[in-house]
């Protein structure tokens, strides 16, 4: 679209700064709404610049350059824009850092939560196992328990002891039935007879009214190899070595 004919002359004058008064106001108003005329004005400014070129020739004196440099040095911008731009970045860096930290900590807390859940499960399982183990122990040691020794028919019950020993865990369980009653201040003592060395105390017990007794997990030296087990009658607090002859002995070991 070409500029409006009626304005063309005035546009040239406006570019030259030579348009005044009402004509100028009218043209400026027109320019607000007319891109074609604005383009023409820009072209005219360009033409004026060409006119500026026509003057070229004299170079400015050296002193002018020095004067400018001095003035510039006295008004340093001190890279305000640069500093501003660096400082302007700080909140972005901080924000980015926060995002990273937040993500990092969130992941950490996720992992922790998982770990806690795992531990809770483990703990529940362990508690269940513990319960079961307690049950076993309670049953074995309960004074209310009914203990029955089964023998072949027509056979009178005999004193009987059963040892279950796991060497690797130094774990021992002993069950006795039909044990003869003992005088006061006396007790039976169980002995672990090792393959080498002296007999090792493995628990002291007195049978109940039915002649039953149990020994559960006595303190034993670790991983002793057992040849057999034996029972003697000792003072009620027990002895560190047998003081009377063996009354019961492990058979068929």
């Amino acid at each position: 679209m070409s500029p409006h004919e009626q304005f063309v002359d005035d546009l040239a004058l406006l570019a030259l700064g030579a348009l005044q008064g009402d004509e100028r106001v009218a043209l400026e108003k027109h320019l607000e709404g007319c891109a074609a005329c604005r383009r023409e004005l820009a072209q005219l400014h360009g033409d004026m610049a060409l006119l500026a070129l026509s003057t070229a020739g004299p170079t400015p004196p050296r002193r002018a350059r020095e004067r400018l440099l001095k003035a510039v040095a006295q008004e340093p911008r001190i890279g305000t824009a640069a500093r501003r731009s660096w400082w302007a970045l700080v909140p972005w860096f901080a924000a980015a850092a926060f995002v990273f930290l937040a993500a990092f900590f969130w992941r950490q807390s996720e992992r922790l939560a998982q770990r806690v859940a795992a531990l809770q499960t483990e703990s529940l399982e362990q508690r269940a196992q513990l319960e079961r183990a307690r049950e076993v122990v309670l049953t074995l040691t309960s004074t209310d328990a009914l203990r029955v020794t089964l023998v072949a028919a027509q056979t009178p019950p005999q004193p009987q002891g059963k040892v279950i020993y796991v060497r690797d865990r130094s774990s021992l369980i002993f069950l006795a039935s039909n044990m003869p009653a003992l005088p006061a201040q006396k007790a039976y003592e169980l002995w672990l007879i090792p393959t080498t060395g002296a007999p090792i105390p493995a628990g002291v017990f007195r049978p109940d009214a039915h002649g039953s007794a149990t020994v559960i997990e006595p303190r034993l030296p670790p991983r002793v190899e057992a040849k057999t087990f034996a029972i003697t009658v000792e003072p009620e607090q027990g002895s560190s070595a047998p003081t009377t002859p063996i009354v019961m002995m492990g058979a068929g070991v």
Binding site: A12, L53, P58, A64
Partner: protein
């Protein structure tokens, strides 16, 4: 807009950006590149070296204080500086307050003014165009441009009708444009 770049030099735009960050050497480079245009125009208008130097100083200090006033949408820097210089000089000549808001001036011009060679070529063309213009046309143009006379004043001075003066000025500028 052509990327004004003299041989082996940074572009005008990159120098302006450097100036924004307070880079004084960028200011110096732009000065060395365009000071002759600014000075020459001011001198032609004012006819006085001292006054022309003042205009030179003002124009570049303004650029230093506010490099953002010129952005690439305004055309090329050399042409823009030429126009600013001429306007400042006219204002000084006529003891007027600055009429044009510098920020509003938009220039559309063909030749790239940063390079020495291009500038010399452009100078030749302009001088050629001016030389082949009818005298009355050239003189009207020069009166308006370098003396800052309004068309009314030119009409009074030459005794020609107002409309004639307007047309002469307009066709004079067109003739220049055609040369490119």
């Amino acid at each position: 807009m052509s990327a004004a770049k003299s041989k082996g030099g940074a572009t005008d735009v990159s120098l302006l950006w450097a100036m924004r960050s307070g880079d004084e050497s960028a200011m110096v480079k732009l000065y060395d590149r365009y000071s002759s245009i600014v000075y020459a125009v001011a001198l032609r208008v004012l006819g006085d070296t001292g006054a022309a130097e003042d205009v030179l100083q003002e124009v570049f200090m303004q650029l230093w204080r506010n490099p953002g006033v010129f952005d690439s949408s305004r055309g090329n820097l050399g042409a823009w500086l030429g126009v600013i210089s001429r306007n400042r000089a006219i204002d000084s000549l006529r003891r007027r307050r600055p009429e044009t808001d510098v920020a509003d001036v938009v220039i559309s011009v063909e030749p790239d003014m940063a390079g020495e060679a291009e500038r010399a070529r452009a100078m030749e063309k302009v001088r050629g165009a001016l030389g082949s213009m009818p005298a009355a046309q050239r003189s009207a143009l020069e009166m308006a441009y370098f003396e800052g006379l309004t068309h009314t004043e030119i009409a009074d001075k030459t005794g020609e009708p107002l409309g004639t003066i307007k047309t002469r000025i307009r066709s004079g500028l067109q003739a220049l444009r055609k040369a490119f």
